[in-house]
Symmetry: C2
């Protein structure tokens, strides 16, 4: 079967930059979450709703990755978070050097939690280490329940899976239990949240988890 391997030296150079970034962010006590999904699974809406709910409780920054346009960064900024847009002009994933350039534009002193919204793609972003504290993969009930089986690297590389668009479940053929079963078979440590960013269902549990997640770093720093 044909196979394409990304040149190891490119990935190693990426890792070096990612580790430098992680050290700088750790000094500032900032935790980072890399959010990945297919195009249109709801990453930006998830961030909008999350920022609205946590405003005043947590300093949130967002690095917004898109092939083109700054429409998503404008949405996130309107929700109330410090935001920087990266346009990859064709590239299908974010790399560490792009994050480094974006961080130079953010006032880090005001941030406790940094989201990186990756390019909409269930493949390549999983192969690029950004030394994030965790990775979140968002799947939605309208994109078919075969995604963990078809894109296993994405689920193996994530710490959290969000099943979004629960409000559309009555209108589609989608077996949530099958998705959870397949994802957990690939990665038994996956934490799973089910939600509808449109109706708000399930967002409370996710936001509670985020507050705890951000606090973990504070404890590490104080220790």
């Amino acid at each position: 079967m044909p196979k394409v391997t990304i040149a190891q030296n490119i990935l190693a150079a990426n890792d070096t930059i990612a580790q430098e970034i992680q050290r700088s962010l750790a000094v500032c006590g900032i935790r980072t979450i890399n959010i990945m999904s297919s195009p249109g699974a709801g990453k930006t809406t998830l961030l909008e709703r999350t920022i609205e709910r946590l405003r005043g409780q947590l300093g949130i920054g967002v690095i917004e990755g898109d092939v083109e346009t700054s429409a998503d960064a404008e949405r996130i900024e309107a929700a109330g978070a410090e935001t920087v847009q990266i346009n990859t002009r064709g590239a299908c994933h974010l790399e560490a050097h792009m994050i480094r350039d974006a961080l130079a534009e953010i006032e880090l002193a005001r941030i406790e939690l940094l989201f990186v919204e990756n390019i909409g793609n269930l493949g390549c972003p999983a192969a690029w280490n950004l030394e994030e504290d965790t990775r979140v993969v968002v799947v939605s009930t309208t994109e078919g329940d075969d995604k963990p089986a078809k894109y296993p690297q994405m689920f193996a590389a994530s710490g959290v899976m969000i099943v979004n668009k629960l409000d559309l479940l009555p209108y589609v053929d989608y077996d949530v239990e099958k998705v959870k079963r397949h994802a957990l078979a690939i990665n038994p440590h996956l934490r799973i949240f089910e939600m509808s960013c449109r109706t708000g269902a399930g967002l409370d549990a996710w936001c509670d988890w985020l507050l705890n997640f951000a606090a973990e770093k504070d404890e590490q720093r104080e220790a």
Copy 2:
């Protein structure tokens, strides 16, 4: 703004193989269509419904691209078409050498129309020339109406756009006219079909177009 360019010599080598494939297929009078979309927009269901409708009228072959699993090839084969599965084991797009290897497994004498179902990805597949006779991009009403603006290369490189999942339109915020307007601004020659592969709405017009499309080659061959 950061930019990643795929090495020109890799793309040139791909073009050479693609042109060889195109010459072989032209000799056999086979027309090819490269189908691309986000994961879960409905490429495989579109092919299932298309093959069921055109069975007996047109010899159809399918090269099925997936990162992992042969589930889609099994669905297509069950619908009644000659099918070969390519698993890219991580790669986010199909390349010409993969098509060449797959074609060695297909009995070309029975085929008039060859579909290549690309990896679910709105980015990279647009950059890889397979010397197909046309490209079809499938978007769906559940993935947000900003996709032409955010992934313009995909729409610039396609001859046809299918707007799928019309049956879910009452339950989502999706402006079909906006999608068509944005896509046509990028590519005024785009032919557009609106359909629901689930209910069958709009499939007749698409299948009529395919019959004409396949016949064009026969005329060229006879001329």
